[in-house]
Symmetry: C2
Subunit: 203 residues, 2 copies
C-alpha cells in the first residue's frame, strides 16, 4: 500500500512550548520528519547544510522567491527564512509525515497556500501561566514580557484558522495529544481509500 | 466549561463486529452513551422501556414519523425501527457523546439529515476473513453466506460517505482506534473555542 504522508502545521504563541513538543514527538515517531527551513544567514558552528538549514545566498533566495518555490518566507534581522515546497513534496510522496513548526503568521501563509494539511495550534493554559514562563526564563525585561503577552493574545485570537487546538499544560500530555491527532488523521476516509479498495477486491 | 457532546455514527457491513466494538467502547468511556432505538415490536422478556428500546404502538410510531421526529427509520419483518432525534439532542446538550450504531443505509439517512456528527465506518480486513467469520458462526447456509458477502461488498463501496475508516482486525485494537478518533475530535478548534476564549480573558 503506498501511503502518502500528512503535512502537519504546528504553531502557537511564543512561550507555548512548541519547539520542545516537536523534539519529543520526533523522538517517538520515525514516520514523521521536521521540515528544514532555508535561510540566508551564515551557518553557525556545527550547523550542517540539509540538516539544520538549507543555506542560500541572498541572490539564490530571491531567485527561489520569484520561482514560487516557498510556501512562506519572512525576514528577521536582515536575514531571509523560508519553507521550500519541493523537499516537503518529496518526503510526503515517500510516505513521511512532515511537520512545519512555524510561527503564527507563517502558518497562515502556508494555510492560504495549501488545503491538504492538518493544522494544530498549541495553546498555553492561561495568560498568567505564560507570564510566569516568560518571567522564569529570567532573560526578559518587564517591558518585553508585556509586549510578548500582547502578541500572544493576538496570536491566540487566530486559533480559529486551525483544525485542532492542543493544550500544553505538560509537555508529555501535549505530545500524546498530537500523537492522537496524527493517528486519527491517518484513519480519515481519503487516506484509507486504497485500503478499502483492497478489502473489496481481495478474497 | 459547558461541553457539547459529539454525535458519532458507527456503521459497517454485517460481520464487521460493530456491536462487540461498541459494547467494549461504552465500558471504557462514561462520557459516551448508546442511542436507543424506537420500535413497534413487542418487548421481549427482560427488555425495558427507555433502556433497550422506546416501545411504541404502530399508531404512535406513524404519528412521530409525520412530526419529523426520526433521524431515520426502517421496517424489518413488519416492525418499525427508528432513531428519535429528541433524546439524542438532550444527551448532547448534557455533554454526553452519543453513539448511533446503525446499518449502512440508516447511517446515510442520518448523514443526509445532519452534518454536525463524526462518522466512522468499521471495515473487515478482507472479504476472505468475512467469509470465515460468517462460516464460523455455523448458523448460515452457503447461499446466505454468499448473499451476505455480496451485500458487504456493496456496503464497503459506501465507505466514502464517512469521515473515518476503522479496521477491525482485533476488537481491542478497533476499540482503541475509535477512542483515538473521539479524543482527536474533542480537540477540534470549534470544540475548543470556549477554552481559547477563557485563556485569552483570564490572567
Amino acid at each position: 500500500m503506498n501511503k502518502h504522508g500528512i503535512l502537519i502545521i504546528l504553531s502557537g504563541p511564543s512561550g507555548s512550548g512548541k519547539g520542545t513538543i516537536v523534539r519529543q514527538l520526533l523522538n517517538e515517531r520515525d514516520d514523521t520528519i521536521l521540515s528544514i527551513s532555508a535561510t540566508t544567514r551564515a551557518p553557525r558552528k556545527g550547523e550542517e547544510e540539509g540538516i539544520h538549514y538549507y543555506f542560500k545566498t541572498k541572490d539564490e533566495f530571491k531567485k527561489l522567491i520569484k520561482q514560487g518555490a516557498f510556501l512562506e518566507y519572512a525576514v528577521y534581522n536582515g536575514h531571509y527564512y523560508g519553507t521550500l515546497e519541493e523537499p516537503i513534496r518529496r518526503l510526503l510522496n515517500e510516505g513521511k509525515n512532515v511537520i512545519l513548526e512555524i510561527e503564527v503568521q507563517g502558518a497562515e501563509k502556508v494555510m492560504d497556500h495549501r488545503s491538504d494539511l492538518v493544522s494544530i495550534f498549541i495553546t498555553i493554559p492561561s495568560m498568567g501561566e505564560l507570564k510566569r514562563r516568560l518571567h522564569d526564563r529570567g532573560t526578559e525585561t518587564k517591558e518585553t514580557i508585556e509586549m510578548r503577552l500582547e502578541i500572544a493574545k493576538r496570536e491566540l485570537s487566530r486559533a480559529f484558522r486551525y483544525d485542532y487546538v492542543v493544550l500544553n499544560d505538560e509537555v508529555p500530555l501535549a505530545v500524546e495529544r498530537i500523537q492522537t491527532i496524527i493517528n486519527a488523521e491517518e484513519m480519515r476516509y481519503f487516506r484509507m481509500e486504497n485500503y478499502i479498495l483492497e478489502v473489496v477486491n481481495n478474497a
